[in-house]
Subunit: 426 residues, 2 copies
């Protein structure tokens, strides 16, 4: 059965995924030359860089989300369909989803990545990933529930496990969530849980390589380490979390940490669809594309963003899996599709790297800019401005700004609610 | 196993439920004379009068919720425990919860009411109730999901059922949610779902008695009927929804309405605990109390708010189940417990009714005040001010005010997200 979309004389571009790349592409492509169909499993775009603030009860999920239908309100020839893509039927120019099939003239796979548990099912079941708004909300709910349960229990081992947070992965997300939870420990927990001893709530950060923020400069790594250590986060480098046994995270040196809150931000793997030829799949499950993001071995299937593996002189192993690459690829692909429609030849992609940022709590950040490295308050301000500027929607900007000012002045992460919710049919 | 709470020489007052009554009582009681233990299944107080705005995507759930621990931060001898009470063991002065038992010197039952399906399990399973923030979120998620599914489907019967909303119950909640959804139909749906025909999305309101807002004046009922009819809500009076069969709501006159969105706001019944002697249970499951809210047949168990059945000259069948009664009873009980501790005699409760309000969308409200009946814009303004004033927390007031102004100016109910979330262990 097909999903209901009108057939017109325009070429149909089907985009899988409305993340940074898919959205940039759709925004630029939607002016009448093509029929654009956007498929996403959620009904909103999510601003992933601020997920950790949702997880740590600093922001409402709605502040970092934006309904697709609202974004594309005034566009003609645009169709959003909430659907989960299962496979690509290349021979039919068709994708198969959970609610029916959709034909395409051009297909753009912009489905991003998902959390990588390296095949360890036990770890997957024990862990809290943080790749989506819903996962961030689940983490918020779980963190708060464990604090409440710790108050009830008379079993000291269980209390310990409820009050140890173990974060696996010292990249930007791991560093940022560690910073946010340690601020919660400093400013919120002593007031909200006066029965809790000073040293009962502990935050561990475990990173496999020899430094935090491995994608940034050594200077940024050293600063992040210092900031987090000062905030009381217990950092373990050059160790992996290899398993979860009897309520404990098991480290590669054999050490065990009792915990019920195992936050897994240790790596990603590309989203997987059935039917993709194995010779098109590269490292990390990414799909191998040429200089114009065309999928190897196809004529009308493009891949952009985190899920694409594209090499250029400066990036022989592929681009970093970050928002700016996806946005730039999406924008270029919109231009290229228009050029090809006019019979012009497409332009090869070149990534313009404007820099990398991370924040580690109140007044503390690190920034590797083009010609400048910043740390501390100034890097934190740059981080705030860049993220506020990037987020979609005037109301979101306003709500985030108010929340940030509020939280800054009151030292309060104020949305500390355990909300359970699903649609009725789930 | 007991829940961990320190034993002191102070008398312990255990309060079941942190709604309007329980919170008013705890707030006033928490100044050192008693040890106060508040039990609630949620970690926050919810402002029920605005649930319908959460359900209709106008407000975030966090704007109408307030964490208990934050409210009681500076209080000594106060303990919050997130727990669900199962039964009252009167003979032991103890309550049994899902996470252990708690002893009391005084017990106050302030657990409120839950949705009444009049024993019809089919209706319970098919319906969306709206008594809690989580239920309101579920309704929001479901309403939005059904719109998305209607876009996908090629089955015209299914499409119809996905696009008919049936609201059962024409009290304040039913009228308010009908108004909010019809505004969504007017201002949001034509822009967000341009494929949808003008007459495809329908809202039905079914009320068993001969008028809407039966608890208010005839004048208010007539105005509500006129407003909703003008907004295109199809109102059926003097009919009940008796069953749900083959995807249709079945009315008492035999008429059927295909719907997957059956909103049930038709009545309440008191929360039930095991072990309450049947002679203490009155109409609607409410617990019979005397003039000082003491439960019939006990010396140290009080009942306040919606779950209490107390008669006085003006209210021979018991008080209306509304917030002001609960707040006034909670405040008086705090005074009375203090008086009793000093050996003074307690004061009998008398309800001071300041009036009843309801709103029916933009610029339209009805108000029965002591000596004045209002309707239209002015009643709507009174409604806004009263509710903004009543809600707990400066930040909540600010966020709600901004959201209301935003929604008013943009005609937008802006939090249209389908978020699924639970704590991990659920």
């Amino acid at each position: 059965m097909d999903i209901k979309i009108p057939n017109t004389d325009k070429k149909r571009v089907v985009i899988i995924g409305g993340g940074f790349g898919g959205l940039a592409l759709a925004d630029k492509l939607c002016n009448g030359e093509f029929q654009v169909v956007l498929l996403d499993k959620h009904n909103y775009h999510q601003f992933q860089p601020l997920l950790y603030q949702v997880a740590s009860a600093g922001l409402e999920p709605s502040s970092i989300s934006f309904p697709f239908r609202k974004n594309f309100r005034k566009k003609r020839n645009f169709y959003f369909r909430m659907a989960q893509v299962k496979s690509v039927l290349f021979e039919n120019n068709e994708v198969e989803t959970n609610s029916g099939n959709v034909k395409y003239d051009y297909l753009v796979i912009a489905a991003g990545t998902t959390t990588n548990f390296f095949g360890n099912e036990t770890l997957r079941q024990a862990s809290l990933p943080m790749k989506s708004v819903e996962e961030a909300l689940t983490l918020r709910n779980t963190l708060l529930l464990h604090l409440e349960r710790a108050m009830d229990t008379t079993d000291s081992q269980e209390r310990k496990a409820l009050l140890n947070v173990v974060i696996v992965g010292g990249g930007a997300t791991g560093v940022e969530i560690a910073g946010a939870i340690s601020e919660m420990r400093k400013y919120i927990i002593p007031k909200d849980y006066p029965d809790l001893g000073d040293d009962e709530f502990n935050i561990h950060l475990v990173e496999g390589s020899h430094r935090l923020l491995a994608a940034m400069s050594e200077e940024a790594s050293a600063n992040a380490l210092k900031y987090l250590t000062d905030m009381g986060v217990e950092i373990t480098l050059e160790r992996h979390v290899e398993n979860y046994e009897s309520g404990c995270a098991v480290l590669s040196d054999g050490r065990t940490i009792p915990t019920k809150t195992l936050i897994w931000v240790s790596g990603v793997t590309a989203e997987h669809f059935e039917n993709i030829p194995s010779e098109s799949i590269g490292r990390g499950g990414r799909l191998i594309v040429d200089k114009i993001n065309l999928l190897k071995g196809t004529q009308n299937v493009f891949v952009i963003g985190d899920i694409a593996l594209q090499t250029e002189a400066n990036y022989p192993k592929g681009h970093p899996q970050v928002a700016p690459v996806a946005i730039q690829q999406g924008e270029l692909l919109a231009d290229n599709l228009k050029r090809m429609l006019k019979g012009q030849s497409p332009i090869a992609f070149e990534y313009v790297n404007k820099g990398t940022l991370a924040t580690i709590g109140r007044n503390k950040g690190v920034a590797d800019l083009k010609k400048l490295r910043l740390s501390g308050f100034f890097a934190w301000m740059v981080w705030l401005l860049v993220h506020l500027r990037s987020i979609l929607g005037v109301k979101n900007k306003l709500m985030i700004l108010i929340n940030w000012i509020w939280n800054y002045l009151t030292y309060d992460q104020s949305v500390r609610f355990i909300f359970r919710s699903r649609p009725k049919e789930d």
